[in-house]
Every structure is written in structure tokens, then in C-alpha cells.
């Protein structure tokens, strides 16, 4: 059974999605999806444990050895992300049991949960696979289901956001297959590890260079790197809150994983940097992204949109850390990947609680909620503190490693810029605090109170994780370091 865990990780939610259609009853579908995602989470925990004990796991699908067949390959890097994605998938579904009724009519519940599990399947499939074309297939599963999830939002802008995402996402995916095709053309293989061995022979060819360019641009569209992020703010702002919480915590993270995997395991960091000015490009885009989108975040009136812009800014940090090009920098990227997911899931779930009670995510509707929804607002403040990077939170840990990595390379000016940008986060978080605690309530109705326990518990699980993993960093830092060393050591 243990041998089959890599495939079960993906096949369990894959089977769960069509079974949702057969279950049909709205309430039962919710519980069923929760069950499926819990099993998925358990599998990912076991997988991480196995990988830490025994090293990389390889699984040949259909019994055909790679590169003729498709293989799954689980190492430190993807088992770490598998844990993140499946944990977020399960926690968000706990909250959805009570909150989904507030935002979706009953007849859509079945479709919502089916799309949710499909999205989970797609993301897990991207993480597990060792085949470049298989990445594209599962990328499309996760993308199509994300478009569906976003379009389920109540505002009509959800539809245009979804359409815009569809166009940008498909362009990104098409660029990715152009890149994969060019690499296949020069090497005759699609398996990532086989590619890594055969690419050096054709390193100097213009075709491989253009392949790398296309692949990276395509992935950057998917991960919403500034200035290719235009689809993201509206998509997050107008999707149902549950969907936003899930997508914000997982989908861009998986795209960053694809980028890391491609640069480190397929092309090799040294080559990627020597033929393309990748480092310079990433530093410039990362830093300008941090500033441009943090400033946009300050001016937002919709709190979901505010945090969506802040998400793009956080992606900037991850890319900046990646650009440093040292094991410590990569550790910082991987840490921030995990930690940012924790913060944003907590924040968006808490906002989901507000939407459940107040019916809106407009900043003005948050006026005075500090007294009416004390627990939810405390969670938002805690998430905000973590986002700023206050000590004892996970946000501090990842910023600390980022600063360390920058200093290690002697990049003083960038360190100062990073610290200044944290002040921008202080400003947008403070704007929320101001509305929440220092304005008089808008509606003086007693009905407005904290959401039911079913939502508060998952929110607080995440908030506690934000503090606990900020103090005891052995899991996140430990695994990130191992993964970073593995990627730099070139050992698969």
C-alpha cells in the first residue's frame, strides 16, 4: 500500500470529484468532499514522512518505466508542497460546511464541491508528476476548475474576472506547451529528469534558449508575477470567499513550484542564469512588483481586493528571494511560500466569515465590527501582523530568512527596500484596523456577530499555526533547507 501512495495522493480526489455528482444531495456532498480531502491530507503526511525517512520515491504509472511512460517522483520539495496544498484543501473545506450556504444557492453546492475537488486534483497532479507534458494536462484541470469556482461569485464582475483569467491562463498554458515542444524537439524526451540529462548536450542551441524563455513566461503568467498579474485581483475579489481562500493559499504557490522545478531540476540554475539575464529580470520585476502592488493595495476599498494585491506583492518577495540564487535564498522562497499560504488562508476565511454575516467585503462595511465580531476581527489583525512580519509570527520567519539571504550576498540596497516595503504593509493593515476598531458601527443590528463555530475553528487553527510555526520553525525551515540543498546539490 505504501508503494502506491504517490498515485493515491492524486487519485483519491480524482475519484472523489465524479462521485460528488453521484451523491448529489447538497449537505452530503459537502461532508463527502471533506472526507476525501481529509484522506488526501493523511496521505500527504505519510508521504512527507516516507520521503524524510527514505528519500525520493519514484512511481511508474502504467508500469512503464520513464521516459517511455509517465512517472511520479516525490522528493523533499514536492512532498513539502503536497502537505501544504492538501492541508489547505482540507481546512478550507471544514469552514465551507457552514459558510457556503451564505454565498451560493443550494443547487450549486454539488457543482462547487466537484469543481473544488477537481482543482485540488489538478494542483496535486502538477506537484507529483515528473513529466513535462503531464504538468500541462493537470495545469488545465486546475485552471478550468478555478475558472468555474471564480465564476460562481455573486457579483457580475466575477464573470469578467473569470473570463480574463481564462484568456490569460490559456495564453500562459499555450506558452508552456510551446516551451515543452521546443525542448522535446531538441532532446526527444518529455521526462523532466531525462531532460535534465539531455539538455546539456544541446545547451548552445537557440532553440533551447527560446524554449526556456517561453516556458518561464508561461509560468509567470500563471503565478501572477508583476506585470503579468492583471487577472488576479478581480479573480480573488469576486470569487466566493471559500474559493478565494483556497486559491490564494494554493494555486499561485503551485505555479511557483513549477518555476522552481523547471529552473533547478530541468535546466539547472547555473545554465539558466548564464544564458538568460534571469537574475536581473527577477530582481527588477520582484522589487517593482512589491512596491507597485503594495501601493495599489493601500487604495483598495474592497478588502478582498486589498489582500489580493497584497498577494501579488508577496509573490514579488518569493521571486526576489529566488533570484538571489543561493541555497539560503531558495530556503527563504520556500518558507515564504508556506507561510504566506497560512496567512492568506486565515485572512480570507475570516473575511468569508464577515461576508457570511454582513454580506459584503467592502471596507466601509467593516466599520465598528471590532465590537460586533471580536473573534473574527482578532483573527484578521493576527493575519495582518503576520503579513507585516512582526516577530513571533510566521511572516517574521520568512522575512528574516529573506533579509539574511540578501545580506549574505551583500545586497544592501535591496535589504533596505524590503524593509521599507514592509511599512507599506503596515499602512494597508492599519487602514483595516482603523475601520474595524475606530469607527462607529454602520448597522446597529444585533444580528451581526461572529460566524458559527464551524468557521471560527478552522480560522483559529490557521491563526494558531501562524504563531506556532513562527516560534517552532523546525518543520518548515527544516524541510525547506533540505529541499534547497537538494536542488542546489543537483541530487534527485
Amino acid at each position: 500500500m505504501i508503494d502506491h501512495l504517490p498515485i493515491l495522493q492524486v487519485v483519491v480526489p480524482l475519484l472523489g470529484a465524479p462521485l460528488c455528482i453521484l451523491v448529489r444531495n447538497p449537505r452530503a456532498v459537502g461532508l463527502f468532499a471533506l472526507l476525501v480531502s481529509t484522506v488526501t491530507l493523511l496521505i500527504s503526511c505519510t508521504l512527507l514522512q516516507q520521503v524524510l525517512l527514505n528519500g525520493t520515491l519514484v512511481y511508474a504509472l502504467g508500469g512503464w518505466a520513464a521516459p517511455w511512460g509517465i512517472e511520479y517522483r516525490i522528493d523533499y520539495l514536492n512532498s513539502y508542497l503536497l502537505l501544504l496544498v492538501s492541508a489547505m484543501g482540507a481546512i478550507v473545506l471544514v469552514a465551507s460546511q457552514s459558510s457556503i450556504g451564505g454565498e451560493l444557492p443550494r443547487n450549486r453546492h454539488m457543482l462547487f464541491y466537484t469543481a473544488y475537488l477537481l482543482c485540488l486534483t489538478g494542483l496535486l497532479g502538477i506537484l507529483c508528476t515528473g513529466d513535462a507534458f503531464n504538468v500541462f494536462v493537470f495545469l488545465e484541470i486546475s485552471s478550468l476548475s478555478s475558472y468555474t469556482l471564480i465564476s460562481l461569485g455573486n457579483d457580475r464582475r466575477a464573470l469578467t474576472a473569470s473570463y480574463q483569467y481564462l484568456i490569460m491562463g490559456t495564453i500562459g498554458a499555450t506558452f508552456i506547451i510551446i516551451g515543452v515542444g521546443l525542448m522535446y524537439m531538441m532532446t526527444g524526451t518529455l521526462n523532466m529528469y531525462d531532460l535534465a540529462q539531455r539538455l546539456p548536450e544541446v545547451h548552445n542551441s537557440k532553440t533551447v534558449l527560446s524554449a526556456i524563455g517561453f516556458f518561464i513566461v508561461g509560468v509567470c503568467l500563471k503565478l501572477a508575477l508583476f506585470p503579468l498579474h492583471l487577472w488576479l485581483p478581480n479573480a480573488y475579489a469576486f470569487a466566493p470567499s471559500i474559493a478565494t481562500a483556497f486559491l490564494a493559499a494554493t494555486s499561485t504557490k503551485v505555479a511557483i513550484y513549477v518555476l522552481i522545478r523547471f529552473i533547478f531540476s530541468v535546466v539547472g540554475p547555473v545554465f539558466a542564469n548564464t544564458v538568460l539575464p534571469l537574475q536581473e529580470i527577477f530582481v527588477v520585476l520582484g522589487v517593482s512588483g512589491i512596491f507597485a502592488t503594495s501601493i495599489s493595495a493601500i487604495y483598495q476599498l474592497n478588502i478582498k481586493r486589498l489582500f489580493a494585491y497584497s498577494s501579488v506583492a508577496q509573490i514579488g518577495y518569493m521571486i526576489l528571494a529566488l533570484a538571489i540564487g543561493t541555497p539560503l535564498g531558495l530556503t527563504a522562497t520556500l518558507l515564504h511560500l508556506f507561510n504566506h499560504a497560512l496567512m492568506k488562508a486565515a485572512l480570507f476565511l475570516a473575511i468569508g466569515g464577515v461576508v457570511y454575516r454582513v454580506g459584503s467585503a467592502q471596507l466601509s462595511h467593516f466599520a465598528g465590527l471590532g465590537r460586533q465580531m471580536p473573534w473574527t476581527m482578532a483573527a484578521i489583525v493576527a493575519g495582518g501582523l503576520s503579513l507585516i512580519g512582526v516577530p513571533l509570527t510566521v511572516g517574521f520567519v520568512s522575512k528574516w530568512y529573506l533579509v539574511l539571504a540578501l545580506l549574505e550576498n551583500g545586497w544592501w540596497p535591496l535589504t533596505i527596500l524590503v524593509l521599507i516595503s514592509s511599512l507599506l504593509a503596515v499602512i494597508y493593515v492599519w487602514r483595516i484596523v482603523e475601520w474595524v476598531y475606530f469607527s462607529s458601527p454602520r448597522i446597529m443590528i444585533d444580528e451581526v456577530k461572529d460566524p458559527p463555530l464551524g468557521q471560527l475553528v478552522p480560522i483559529y487553527v490557521l491563526v494558531i499555526a501562524n504563531f506556532y510555526l513562527g516560534i517552532d520553525t523546525s518543520l518548515t525551515v527544516g524541510v525547506s533547507k533540505k529541499a534547497a540543498e537538494m536542488l542546489f546539490g543537483g541530487v534527485f
Partner: protein, 332 residues
Amino acid sequence: METLIDIVLLGFLVLTALAVAKMHDLFAVVMLSGIYSLLSASLFLDLDAVDVAFTEASVGAGISTLLMLASLKLVGRFEKRTRYRPMLALGVVLATGTLLIYGTLDMPHFGSAEAPVHQHVAPRYLNDSMEEVGVPNVVTSVLASYRGYDTLGETLVVFTAAIGVISLLRVSRRTKEEEKQKTPADMQQQIILRVVVKWLLPLILIFALYVQFHGDYGPGGGFQAGVIFAAGIILYTMLFGLNNASRVFQPEHLERIAALGVLLYAGVGIGCMVLGGNFLDYNGLSHDPVHGQHLGILLVELGVGLTVASVMITIFFKFTWRTVKHKYVKKR
């Protein structure tokens, strides 16, 4: 000869694409895109990709054009002129094109047998698939066995699209009730068409079954069969009305069949695991590996066929119900 056809077809394709870019009448644009697909299918045929040609003809020129026409009916026919000069877009396109052309410079030449693509992975499929899988159509054996997992993903993509379209284009029971009270279908008066279709329909459905089960030996397989089957039902629906068609194909049943198709495919994989092999390792399905491969491919192709046919019919029904609904919204 092949080269000549190749050049002529590519020339036509460029002309069609330019016309698409130029035209403002969306009806013409959609028809041209159908023509583009048909020309592509011919080009694929010229390049020895028979299965791809088959699929492109049935999907690109068939279903996709049909869906576009159905949505045109809902959104209006003419494109308005853009207000700004799209210099930025032009710049992006030129940059992308330059990068691609730059990439082509080191490519192995078109049609060369020494290209790396033909050296490493592919020879095993051509040389050994007969002993290992036992299916003459190599595309089928790669699709359903060597890379069977990609095809499972592909089936799931189709299923996902159905979920998306269903959730976007839901139609209430009231509209359906109103539809039942009324009026023949749009093309109900076309007696000649109706008679012809009555003759054609069984042939189309039998052809679909042939394509489904003959995919091992010739071009075809679950996907193409599903699309052809759906095309037959769509033809019937257009001439005899949604009410008649959806009496046979109830939406809920179609959704269930789509789900069952995916479950069948993944279930075969699980079955292989239970029998001691890896996921989708058909060798264990029977005492003789090649026999097991045959059985596995048959079952997964059936799963693909079920899902694709029911999803395509569902999507078409959703678009058509929407047009029906618009009729009533205007009346109310």
C-alpha cells in the same frame, strides 16, 4: 507531392487566419474558424497524423463551430470597432514571434529522419509496441497504455468543462415547462431534412460505435467516437426539438454518465493496483499480458467515449436551453 500539398494548405491557412483577423461580422469569423479547422485537419492528414486529423475535423470544425454559432445567437452578430490603435499588442506579438523565429534557427530540418525527436523515446513505441501492447495503431497504444495517465487527465478536463458550463448556464424548471407547452423546434418545418436525418441517424450512431471499437486497428478511439455520437444526437435535437431529445437524454442522467466514464477509467487503474500491478498497469488484468493490455485499452476507451459523448451533449443542451430561455425573457 506531400511538400506541395503542405505548402498549399499552409497558404490557405494564412489567408483564412488573416480574414478572421480582418472581419467584423462574427458569423463570418466563426465560419472561417470552422474552415480553418477543416484545413488544419487536412494538413494533419498530410503530415501522417490521421488520428489528430480525425479529432480536429470532428471537434474543431464540428462541435466547436456549433457551440460558437449557438452563442452568437445569444450575443449578437457584429463586432464593434476598437477605439485605440493596439500598438502594445503589436509589440508583444512581434517580440514573441521574433523569439520563436530565433528558436527555429537551430531546429532540425522539417521531415528529417535524423532529428532527435525520432531517436530517443519514440523508436520503442514503433518497434516494441506490437509485442508489449499488441495493438497495430501505435497512437492508440501510446495514448491508452504508455501514456494512459495523460488520457485520464484529458478525460477529466472534459468532465471539468462540463461542470463549468453546467454551473454557468443553468436553466430553471419553469423555462423547461414553458418550452414543453409550445411550438415546434426552429427547423421542424424542414420536411426533407427530417426525412434524411431519420435515415442518417442510425448510420451515424453505428459509425460512432465502429470508431469506438475499431480504434485499435485504424484511426479512432473513445474520444472521436464520443464526439460523433454526440454529433448525431445534436443533429436530431436541431430537427426534432429539445423536448424530444431531452426526454431520452435527461440532464441528470447525462451528468451521471459523464461521471461514470471518469470513474470507469480511474476504476480500471485501481483494479490494476488491486491485482498487484501499478496504477493503469493493464498487464495484470489477464493471465496473458497482451490480452490484459487489450482488455484495459478497451475499457478505458469506453470510459473516454461515455464521458465525451455525454459531456458534449450536455454542453450543447445547455447552450440551446439558454436560447429557449431568452425567447421567454423577451416575451415576459
